[in-house]
């Protein structure tokens, strides 16, 4: 009997080990490195959607809940940002974190021009709750950047829905589909070049683990 338990135990350990190995390997794939190494990114979006939190996470790979933030009003730029997550190491050449709101739209256009990948963040919880103010902000943002994004056919866009954890249906099956079916999401994807160029990423930046999961999603995206 004991040898059976030992065999089962070894089997489970081997399975877990393989899973962990392949998870890291999958993340640290050549395609991921090829896609991201040396690239320039711009983090855009309305106010309070987590732009600076994502920017800081990429830089430090942790979410510091005690960190005190300032409203981002100008451009934060970091050269040669090393992103190390679960053994994967990527070098992003230049990253821009830009203030939100229509007041900064003119600056956004420069950052779009200067970047290979555009991250446009929105608040999933507000979208799910059909928050009129946030939806209007997104529409204004799209009106300001849509032409520029579409004109650069080589730029990829990630539509990143943050704060999903604030919604009660987060982590239930079909949450992503429900979000995807919101007209503002469909409209935004179309404005950002359609599904060929714009990938929806759904998650949260409320903790280091949540942020890791979110970042892994876009790092693993085949673009």
């Amino acid at each position: 009997m004991i040898p059976v338990f030992v065999a089962v135990g070894l089997g489970v350990a081997a399975l877990l080990g393989t899973t962990v190995y392949f998870w890291d390997n999958m993340f640290d794939s050549k395609s991921s490195k090829k896609n991201w190494d040396g690239k320039r990114i711009a983090v855009l979006g309305s106010r309070e959607v987590g732009k600076s939190t994502l920017f800081d996470f990429l830089q430090n790979q942790k979410i510091d809940l005690n960190k005190s933030y300032e409203q981002t009003r100008s451009v934060r730029k970091i050269d040669n940002m090393e992103v190390n997550i679960d053994g994967a190491s990527l070098r992003i050449s230049t990253s821009y974190d830009v203030g939100g709101g229509e007041i900064s739209h003119r600056t956004w256009l420069d950052q779009i021009k200067e970047s290979d990948y555009i991250f446009y963040l929105l608040d999933a919880n507000k979208v799910m709750n059909s928050d009129r103010i946030h939806i209007n902000e997104i529409k204004k943002d799209m009106a300001a950047i849509q032409k520029q994004i579409v004109s650069y056919t080589n730029k990829k866009v990630f539509l990143i829905a943050t704060k999903s954890d604030c919604h009660k249906q987060y982590n239930t099956s079909g949450f992503e589909d429900k979000l995807m079916n919101k007209s503002i999401i469909l409209e935004t994807i179309l404005n950002l070049g359609g599904i060929e160029r714009c990938k929806l990423i759904v998650g949260s930046l409320s903790s280091t683990n949540e942020a890791k999961n979110l970042v892994k999603q876009f790092l693993n995206t085949d673009i």
Binding site: R47, Q71, R73, S74, V75, G100, G101, I103, R106, I133
Partner: protein, 199 residues
């Protein structure tokens, strides 16, 4: 002394504390201090401000002038709540405040100066021009830049006396010079002016 009519407008920007309403964006000019509502003007000005901030990234940590500023900042309490970015004669001052937004982030005040046409003969008048407009902005918008009364005035004055600022400071009325808030603003504008003049 040059007439204040020759001073370029100064722009002051503080983001809305609820992050949804219109931001507080004001212009100080010789006609007075007024709120700016035209989005196009605001976007253009913010764009220029961002260019100044961005340009400062590359010059920081490398210039002697920056080292001088770092040295002085160690001697003045609360000076770290103020950051200075410069590109040519364009300057962005960012004042730390006690104000926080609804996401509990600090809501600071940015000021955009164009020091073209400012020289030793009119700098004290320019400081007054700025100070009065800045205070009016704070009153009207209920903004609270960090109280600079904590500055160790004696040390500050001795720094000034040992620096290039002595000559200009002596031309200011004593009562004004004793106001520490005023002194810091004078100091900042002077140091930026000297940085540009000695470039």
């Amino acid at each position: 002394m040059k007439k204040s009519a020759e001073f370029k407008p100064i722009y002051i920007w503080a983001q809305a504390k609820d992050n949804v309403s219109k931001d507080d964006f004001f212009e100080i000019s010789n006609a007075g201090t007024k709120k700016i509502g035209e989005l196009d003007i605001i976007q253009r000005t913010v764009y220029e401000m961002n260019k100044v901030v961005e340009a400062s990234y590359s010059s920081k940590n490398s210039s002697l002038k920056h080292k001088v500023l770092s040295y002085l900042s160690k001697h003045i309490k609360d000076f770290e709540s103020l950051s200075i970015n410069r590109k040519g004669e364009k300057v962005v001052l960012s004042f730390g405040t006690k104000d926080i937004d609804r996401a509990e982030r600090a809501s600071n005040i940015d000021v955009f100066l164009d020091l073209n046409n400012i020289d030793s003969s009119n700098i004290s008048e320019y400081v007054k021009y700025f100070y009065e407009g800045f205070m009016e902005f704070c009153n009207v918008t209920d903004r609270h830049p960090f109280d600079l009364e904590n500055i160790n005035t004696a040390k500050f004055e001795s720094i000034l006396e040992n620096s290039l600022l002595k000559k200009t400071l002596s031309s200011l009325p004593e009562s004004i010079a004793r106001n520490s808030t005023y002194l810091v603003i004078i100091f900042v504008i002077l140091i930026v002016y000297i940085m540009i003049a000695t470039r």
